[in-house]
Amino acid sequence: MRAKEIADALHAVPLTLWEEEHQNHEYKNVFATDLMSDALAMIQDEEESTVLLTGLCNTQTLRTAEMLDVRFIVFVRGKFLLDDAIEMAKNMGIVCLATDYTMYDACGRLYLKGLTGIYG
């Protein structure tokens, strides 16, 4: 599913660069967690086609994504990154969106659209 369709499904707003190339990037699966150690332990393959959904809004989320080569994060529950974190995300080439939906609702909406978990 294209990033743009994911953003539309979640009524999400971009926090970082959101050019056509970012919007057209295809994603296959989703991992949802507020625990970065779990993300580091569970996400093992196809990182660049994985969307990270999280309510953890700090630089460690970005660092975790950087280590895993995850390039797309959606922050749930209406959370926003602070300016310095947004700058950091831009420098890392990570696209960040924010949605008002809760984790449960965001996961449900993306699942209904055909995005599975990381194990299919």
């Binding site: 625990l35 150690s37 580091l40 332990a41 660092r63 950087e66 895993l68």
Partner: protein
């Protein structure tokens, strides 16, 4: 061991602001010498978890990166204490002694050491109240 690349870093206890900078540098350094992305991710994950451990559990510490002539990557994380009281429990998935502050940063899931062990080719840890030394090896053709 003859090393074709050697770097050393210092990690400061409770320095959450800079947490991950060392691992980021290690990842980009190894990327420049041609380590494959898949192996690089494993090294980055192990390095980041270990770096976080120095920040949230230890009194800070040192990180040593070496690359052998055969392309093997050696990482050593050395701290001056306080040591891991029960290594067996620390290696059990889900076991955690992380502080509320560390948990607030997204850590303390009890997956750190088990995950480091999973992604590394060689894993050796020694711990006493005087300090912990974690030695990791990643074998990969350059």
């Amino acid at each position: 061991m003859d090393s074709i690349l050697h770097k050393e870093y210092t990690v400061v206890q409770d320095d959450y602001v800079n947490a991950g900078k060392v691992s980021s540098d290690i990842k980009s350094t190894l990327s420049e010498i041609g380590i494959s992305p898949k192996v690089l991710r494993k090294i980055a994950v192990a390095s980041y978890e270990s770096e976080i451990n120095l920040i949230i559990h230890a009194y800070g510490g040192k990180v040593f990166l070496d690359v052998g002539e055969d392309g093997a990557v050696y990482l050593v994380f050395k701290d001056p204490g306080p040591g891991i009281p029960d290594l067996e429990k620390a290696l059990t998935p889900g076991w955690s002694t992380a502080s509320e502050k560390a948990r607030g940063m997204g850590f303390g899931a009890g997956m750190g050491l088990p995950n480091i062990q999973r992604v590394s080719d060689d894993f050796h840890i020694e711990s006493s109240p005087e300090g912990t030394t974690l030695s990791l090896v990643f074998r990969s053709p350059v």
